[in-house]
Symmetry: C2
Subunit: 229 residues, 2 copies
Amino acid sequence: MGSDVAILAGDLALVLADDLFASSGFKDDAFERGLGAYSRMRQEVIAGQFLDVTNAARSEIDESEAARVAMLKSGRYSIVEPVLIGASLGGAADEMLDGLERFAAPLGEAFQLRDDLIGTFGDPAATGKSVESDIRQGKKHVLFAKALAKLEDSDRAHLLKLWGEPEIDERGVAAVRKLIESSGARAACEELIARLLTQSLEELTQLDVPEDARAGLADLARRAVERVA
Amino acid sequence: MGSDVAILAGDLALVLADDLFASSGFKDDAFERGLGAYSRMRQEVIAGQFLDVTNAARSEIDESEAARVAMLKSGRYSIVEPVLIGASLGGAADEMLDGLERFAAPLGEAFQLRDDLIGTFGDPAATGKSVESDIRQGKKHVLFAKALAKLEDSDRAHLLKLWGEPEIDERGVAAVRKLIESSGARAACEELIARLLTQSLEELTQLDVPEDARAGLADLARRAVERVA
């Protein structure tokens, strides 16, 4: 019964979110365009969650596939579409929307990479995210895919054995961290995040917006990918 | 993984239904009013399903509570709100909507009563509905509530024991049917359906609609509550 009620609670949240959107007071073209982005976002996140669930049942994954799932289930949902929804409701023209998407897309990717790192190396007391959940569930995210691509022989087999192990203990988690660290995947993710942030901030300089808006967006960009662990 | 994917498929269906509604081409006041009924319907059916799930865990229920759940999860979802959505999109005025609601509400109640009867007495080959599912799940519907109120002593205890028994066999189902039949609850439900249909058709005579529309609605009313078992 508990899971039945949880499903209904999720459905109700989805329905009430729609009602809030519909009763937001926005009208006409701005509303239509905002609704389009909102609707697209919902389909993307469902597709991304579907791939995330089905990929968890696979043992391996390559980085490009992991990156595609991350973009759908997290990057576009958490960053890109919210930016486009807000801008659409605010009446932004197509050119502005395109520029904002170029600004937001690298951030969306970096946001999920940060989440991968927190899920494996973060301090749960600081992050609120259980360290083991990604590992226990065998999430096939980019950090894992990078490590898998870099490790060889017994190290690779060891990571594959521990990743997705429901009963993993503290020693197992420590071993996973060491393998990912030694593979260079952690450092590669940090470098990629820094590069994506730079790319995003460069796109921001191209946007035709007032300086205080640009400063606000730059601040949001840094906060979206900053270290919390 | 199967149930995770099923939940996502349900979410996707909900989202795509919204998109169809939003892209239906209706505009302005008619669209807003139709959307209001659509949105109310979704909240009602979730509330009704929630009560249905939680009531299944109770052993007893009184008829008024069972009727309220039936109206939320089925009557308004299957009959009343679809009528009001269609009429709203067609530009019906408040007075017409009120009249249509008086026409549709008794039908919604009768529709669910018919469903209760089919779930207990119907032929699955004809109805497509498993006879045992309501019994196995211990659905606390109006037919069950009526039988429980009418039975006494050992018969009452017997029905309570069988209703919601997950492992019930054919003999058990036959015993449930006999108990409900002998209690008079089956006949009482048939009488109530007939009375509700009459009430609905009387309301229909009061509606200011063309005669062919009235005939069409009367036909739909009869089909909604007709015997298929």
